[in-house]
Amino acid sequence: MAVLRAGKTNNEADQPSSPVLRFGPDKPLKLDAGTLLSPFQIAYRTYGTLNDARSNAILVCHALTGDQHVASTNPVTGKPGWWEVLIGPGKIIDTSRFFVICSNVIGGCLGSTGPASTNPATGKSYGLDLPVITIRDMVRAQQMLVDHFGIEKLFCVLGGSMGGMQVLQWASSYPERVFSALPIATGARHSSQNIAFHEVGRQAVMADPDWHGGKYFEHGKRPEKGLAVARMAAHITYLSEAALHRKFGRNLQDREALTFGFDADFQIESYLRHQGMTFVDRFDANSYLYMTRSMDYFDLAADHGGRLADAFAGTKTRFCLVSFTSDWLFPTEESRSIVHALNAAGASVSFVEIETDRGHDAFLLDEPELFAAINGFIGSAARARGLGV
């Protein structure tokens, strides 16, 4: 287990334990910020086998703090892949049938070029010298990875939350390369409230004296307290009031009575502290700034004169959108407005809203109705793509 420790640079950032594709000066990544990123690298994992026709590839896009280890043990945490409930041999997304690709996004911290990576120009970590990365930049890089595999058309692109934004960007930027798209618990833009929560998180990181203007590696430090607070605040938005109440209520943590102090008297406090503490072991603080910023900047309609339908004009891609009733980060209305835009564009679209009290995080959990919808959608798309039953 390669836990990220204070004082050390992030080894997974430069030399990840997963395969890496390196792009030299001849293949720079064009960034929305107006500059070129070069050289750069993409760390990825694949599962299953690409068929001869190269028609069975599924690209999975990860969320804010996810990574490429979607269906296998995470080398940093030692925990199962973040979507192993869904993806694997014999699972809903069956890796004995499909070739599943998942890459760490640009700006991430597990092997694709990001703020924790070493800047070849200085020999030090990029820190804030890395240009701001957008969702479209991430997708542009993924497209270069897909090219590397010689895949002209992905059978499906799927992902939740920030991953769902990438799915929408894929479908909009490269419609001819996406046979089916499955954006889950996401939106075509980040709402004001969501930007607000992200700003709280970023300010918490930057307020930590160990952040050092983003140059903490040079000082042998990491802004762990700030990042933990950012994670605690964000974690609340991934749940719902009902789920919090069901799980924790006002239960006390390992004690019989209130202590009249500021220890974690309540279970929910202890739980959040634990979430914050374990998060800093696996995530880079600057990368957190970049990831949240990429979501804030995302506004697919704005890129098309304010008309979301124009982002999907003439699309042949088959879409299935999924939202959750208790998700207040990306409420159903966000998905519905995408559905309306797709209707207006004449697209083939399914839309499922799933009843659950588990909030935004429901997309990562074992939700039978979610799995039934994905199964039905993937199954019919596979038949249409000639991939057998």
Binding site: V339, H340, S348, S350, I354, A373, G376
Partner: protein, 204 residues
């Protein structure tokens, strides 16, 4: 949104009106029976709009392309003539604004197919005439206070509405209580009296 207790004998009549490989929007697709029938027998490019989330989830799990939505509100998002056929099967009487809905169907589809229970059927008339009570029949099993069917019409009423909207009736079929087609040669009053359900193919 299927609000009729019968075996949906109209489904096959509807399916027979649709040529293979058509683009079809099924408004009120229920559990997806019609879309599935059309995909299997006619290889149509089918989409559905369904009010109940349970129905939608069932449809998507069966591999159908269906979204949750309300015929009264969500048809405006579809482009003009985006489909060869728009089907409204046993749903018109449950909409808040049937005239607007029918108008939208004619805008979205090159043709619209509408099926509905005929409130002019003799059993309905008899119930009201003899018992003096709102009819509750095998096909219309709801009481007046809990029925989702808020805008009933007779076959004659529907023909009038079509005229008002400038729609041409290309084909019309009435089904009797046993789901049998009533002979084409019969006059409107006969259909309106003995037809339990009606299926119309419209164009504008």
């Amino acid at each position: 949104m299927s609000v009729n207790g019968s075996q949906r004998v109209d489904l096959e009549v509807v399916a027979n009106l649709i040529p293979p490989q058509s683009r079809v929007l099924d408004v009120g697709s229920g559990d997806g029976s019609l879309l599935e029938l059309l995909q299997e027998t006619k290889q149509v490019d089918g989409r559905g709009l369904e009010l109940s989330q349970r129905g939608v989830n069932e449809c998507v799990a069966r591999g159908l392309s269906v979204i949750q939505g309300d015929a009264d509100k969500d048809l405006e998002f579809y482009p003009d003539k985006g489909f060869d056929f728009v089907v409204l099967s046993q749903t018109l009487q449950a909409t808040r604004n049937p005239k607007l809905v029918l108008d939208e169907l004619l805008r979205i589809g090159n043709r619209a197919i509408v099926s509905f229970p005929n409130f002019g059927h003799w059993r309905v008339r008899l119930s009201l005439f003899v018992k003096g009570r709102m009819p509750v029949t095998k096909d219309l099993p709801y009481s007046w206070y809990d029925t989702p069917n808020i805008h009933f019409c007779t076959i004659r009423d529907f023909v009038n509405l079509c005229e008002e909207l400038g729609a041409t009736v290309e084909k019309a079929t009435a089904l009797d209580a046993n789901g049998q087609k009533i002979g084409l040669s019969m006059p409107w009053w006969f259909w309106n009296f003995f037809g339990q359900q009606a299926v119309f193919l419209l164009k504008r």
